[in-house]
């Protein structure tokens, strides 16, 4: 078991190094630098700035400098948000993005599965058609169309909810962003659940349960839900990815200081350290998660360890 774990950990390190090196190269390959602007700087001033941020050193030297900082847990200062280190920015924004994503995921699963189940139970009725039409809309209409419409309706016209993140505190300001983020996923999950549920409901063991006198809801809850959820479960991976990318747009529209926003701003501002820091963070997260899953497999299924 130990050998298996060790091998897995050792295998993760070169992956991480490769990701960091590639990201470093790509970030520096983009034309323009972090301090370029139309207000062009006099040569002396520019030289001072390049020196202060080590941008006048050769690229390999900058890379080594960055790596040694990484090993000490220092992701460097942000070139754009100069009063903050990259670690601080990530530390402040990741929990927010995580919260948003988790809530949106939870909402999507609860509402999507419920809607899909109802549609499957009332197959071909008006309710079914309504649910399917709504889900089609949810999939087709892009986030950046939905969000302003929701803001216009609920924040500007009705004034029930805040339009911006910083103008309120507490749970109210989460409502619109979470709904916006969850909507496309609700749509997908509803369709998936419906199809899968229809299939399961036609199976023999459901007929047996019914014949035994169980009510519809009980049948669904105890017997149909679990097998029907399998396709939804395997959709979770792409769903998380979609929520991650969708969160960038939602964060921008609602002014939420989340990780997605900082990633995009960092790229546009050529904020090398911030972009690299976020890439390293995500890469480490993904590698760690894969590592955990691998190790868990080893624990659950002993055959894996000896392959």
């Amino acid at each position: 078991m130990l050998r298996y774990t060790l091998l897995r950990v050792l295998g993760a390190i070169p992956t991480l190094l490769l990701v960091i090196a590639l990201a470093f190269l790509m970030v520096h390959a983009a034309p323009g630098g972090p301090f370029d602007d139309e207000r062009v700087l006099p040569a002396d001033v520019e030289a001072n700035i390049a020196h202060a941020y080590h941008l006048d050193e050769p690229l390999p030297k900058q890379f080594v400098r960055y790596l040694s900082g990484l090993l000490q847990g220092d992701l460097g200062p942000s070139y754009r948000y100069r009063d903050y280190t990259v670690s601080e920015l990530i530390g402040n924004s990741f929990p927010l993005s995580l919260q948003l994503g988790a809530l949106a995921m939870a909402l999507a699963v609860v509402v999507g599965v419920s809607a899909g189940t109802v549609a499957a139970l009332r197959q071909d009725s008006y309710l079914d058609r309504l649910v399917m039409a709504c889900s089609m809309t949810g999939i087709s209409v892009p986030v950046f169309v939905f969000a302003p419409v929701l803001v216009l309706l609920f924040a500007v016209k009705l004034q029930w909810l805040p339009a911006g993140w910083s103008s309120a505190s507490g749970g109210a300001r989460l409502v619109l962003p979470v709904i916006t983020l969850a909507l496309p996923q609700v749509a997908y999950i509803a369709r998936l659940t419906r199809a899968s549920m229809i299939d399961v409901l036609g199976r023999d063991f459901i007929r047996t349960a019914r014949a035994q006198g169980l009510g519809t809801l009980t049948v669904v809850r105890l017997h149909a839900l679990k097998p029907a959820m399998l396709p939804v479960l395997s959709y979770m991976g792409p769903a998380v990815a979609a929520i991650l990318t969708g969160s960038v747009v939602v964060e921008e529209i609602f002014g939420i200081p989340g990780l997605g926003q900082f990633f995009v701003r960092g790229a546009l501002n050529r904020d090398y350290t911030l972009v690299l820091g976020i890439v390293v963070f995500y890469a480490t997260l993904i590698v760690l998660l894969n590592l955990v899953v691998d190790i868990l497999y080893g624990v659950i299924d002993p055959r894996v360890r000896y392959r």
């Binding site: 983009a30 034309p31 323009g32 630098g33 370029d36 602007d37 139309e38 207000r39 062009v40 700087l41 006099p42 040569a43 002396d44 001033v45 520019e46 001072n48 700035i49 020196h51 202060a52 941020y53 754009r80 948000y81 100069r82 009063d83 903050y84 920015l89 402040n92 924004s93 929990p95 927010l96 919260q99 988790a102 809530l103 939870a106 302003p148 803001v151 924040a155 500007v156 004034q159 805040p162 339009a163 911006g164 993140w165 910083s166 103008s167 505190s169 507490g170 749970g171 989460l174 679990k226 921008e252 529209i253 609602f254 002014g255 939420i256 200081p257 989340g258 926003q261 546009l268 050529r270």
Partner: protein
């Protein structure tokens, strides 16, 4: 499975509960909500560079001189000043009751400390050249002399002497810029480069920094030690970072913002009807222009062609039909409204459109082009709806009037900047310039040889000598004549194609008092007030 689901629900509610009470600024008293388009990159006034950073810094700090709401210079940290006969020595008398936010008095030594830090190479300050006219400043920035030799001296606690290399009539406007504000030396010594954070920043202006959530909001609170605190009507100001102007408009309509930083460019007429007096449009010290790459053909050594292209553009149509937000068509380089200056206007500004176009066609032929041999040129601009509209309009004007075949090239902002600096592939490129202070020099100096902002790479000996003569004038009237002549010489060369002058646009709620339209678009929060709404 059941217990899993309940666990999940519990986790979710837990997350919501924990994060709903994250550290948010507490609103107490009368608080103004303003929008800014992006985070200040820092509140260290020497490392800041953007306009939003300058706006917040002007609320936090105060320099020797300030501006009134209508744009007149007023004493601030200094109560008065004397200028020597040769215009090269300024003596400032400082305000005895000026205080930092921790109660310490503001002394001349604090200004000297700040000025020296500004020109120290290790600071890597963007606006190090704000003090370029001070004795030894250029040498200090280049590292040739230590910053202690900068020509500033604290004669005593309340008297500051500034010695200049040459008479600089616009020195007082420079001293309103946040990079020239004083610093609290003990604070910088204790915290090093991270002195400008909430909790450690000590400021001498009307407000202090209470909280800053990057990407979201900066919260400022009243500075009770400010010498003029009695006149400050607001208890706090929140600068909300709103990147998208459409989102900012929605927040304004939802009543969450009192002042917006800008207005979305589309549907301007509708907005005017809908908001009436709340929509404030004023001329702004900035110009939108197309530059010619003077280092390469076809524009190298070809003033006739440049003039032809310039004359073929119908600027009035651009400003009124295509933009329609009150922008002013530009026939000069220096915008109108600059103090002590009357911009020269290009010779063809008064001609009728037909006369202009026929003259343009004649010049085009003289340059060697015709219908059989049209000019093929690339017009570069950075990605934006406005830029695209204008480029398309200019492309069609050139085609209809002269037969020029222009290709539009759309590039990301940083890519365009890099291309403009290399001057290898650019032919015609879109650029802009905003003035740093209210004097013609901030525009005319751009086109001097060796200035890194001189994108067209204009180099003209007569222009240089006129600018130098203007720089050595003590008499304001004579200086003005030299500057105006320099602009006339430059415009006749057509190194660039001025298109229009910017306007500042804000939505300001009726309950906001003290708002003054001025050409620099400075709106100090200390001048603003909020009357009670129902």
């Amino acid at each position: 499975m059941k217990s899993m689901r309940y666990l999940l629900l519990l986790a979710v509610f837990g997350l919501v509960a924990v994060y709903s009470c994250s550290g948010e600024p507490v609103d107490a008293g009368v608080v103004l909500q303003r929008g800014i388009p992006a985070d200040p990159e820092t509140l260290d006034q020497h490392k800041a560079r953007s306009t939003q950073a300058a706006d917040v810094l002007r609320d936090l700090g105060e320099g020797l001189v300030g501006y009134s709401p209508t744009g007149e210079l007023v004493p601030a940290g200094a109560t008065g000043w004397k200028v020597s006969e040769d215009g090269r020595t300024y003596t400032f008398h400082l305000r005895p009751e000026a205080r930092w936010s921790n109660g310490d008095p503001v002394t001349a030594e604090h200004y000297v400390f700040a000025f020296r830090r500004l020109v120290t190479p290790a600071t890597a300050a963007f606006y190090a050249n704000m003090l370029a006219d001070v004795m030894n400043a250029a040498d200090a920035v280049a590292g040739r002399v230590p910053a202690e030799q900068l020509g500033v001296e604290a004669v005593d606690d309340l008297m500051l002497v500034v010695r200049l290399e040459r008479p600089t009539p616009y020195l007082l406007s420079l001293l309103t810029h946040p990079s020239t504000f004083p610093l609290h030396p003990a604070s910088v010594a204790e915290h090093g480069d991270s002195f400008a954070r909430p909790g450690t920043l000590i400021s001498n202006g009307a407000f202090t920094l209470e909280a800053w959530v990057p990407g979201s909001v900066l919260s400022l609170r009243r500075n009770e030690h400010f010498w003029n605190d009695a006149a400050t009507a607001l208890d706090g100001v929140n600068h909300h970072v709103v990147v998208q102007d459409a989102a900012e408009l929605n927040r304004y309509r939802a009543g969450e913002l009192h002042i917006t930083s800008t207005v979305p460019p589309d549907n301007f007429e509708e907005l005017k009807v809908q908001f009436g007096d709340e929509l404030r449009v004023a001329p702004y010290l900035g110009i939108y222009y197309y530059g010619f790459n003077l280092l390469k053909p076809p524009f190298k050594d070809n003033p006739e062609l440049r003039q032809a292209l310039s004359m073929a553009v119908d600027r009035e149509q651009l400003a009124t039909k295509i933009l329609g937000r009150g922008e002013v068509p530009a026939f000069s380089w220096v915008p109108p409204g600059v103090s002590r200056y009357e911009p020269t206007v290009m010779s063809f500004a008064t001609l009728s459109r037909e006369a202009r176009e026929s003259l343009a066609r004649r010049l085009y032929k003289e340059a060697g082009y015709s219908e059989e041999r049209p000019l093929k040129v690339e017009l570069r601009y950075n990605t934006s709806d406005t830029n695209k509209k204008i480029a398309a309009a200019v492309q069609s004007m050139w085609l209809n009037v002269l037969g020029v075949e222009a290709t539009l090239v759309n590039e990301e902002f940083q890519v365009l900047l890099a291309n403009m600096r290399d001057a290898e592939v650019t032919q015609v490129f879109r650029s802009s310039w905003m003035g740093d202070y209210n004097d013609a020099h901030t525009f005319l100096s751009v086109l001097q040889a060796g200035n890194a902002a001189n994108m067209p790479r204009y180099a003209n000996d007569e222009y240089e000598s006129l600018m130098q003569r203007a720089a050595s004038q003590v008499d304001a009237e004579r200086r003005r004549l030299y500057l105006e002549e320099a602009e006339r010489v430059m415009l006749a060369d057509h190194p660039l194609l001025p298109l229009y002058f910017f306007v500042s646009k804000h939505l300001v709620r009726p309950e906001v008092g003290g708002w003054g339209d001025n050409v620099l678009d400075y709106h100090y929060s200390q001048h603003l007030s909020l009357s009670a709404t129902e």
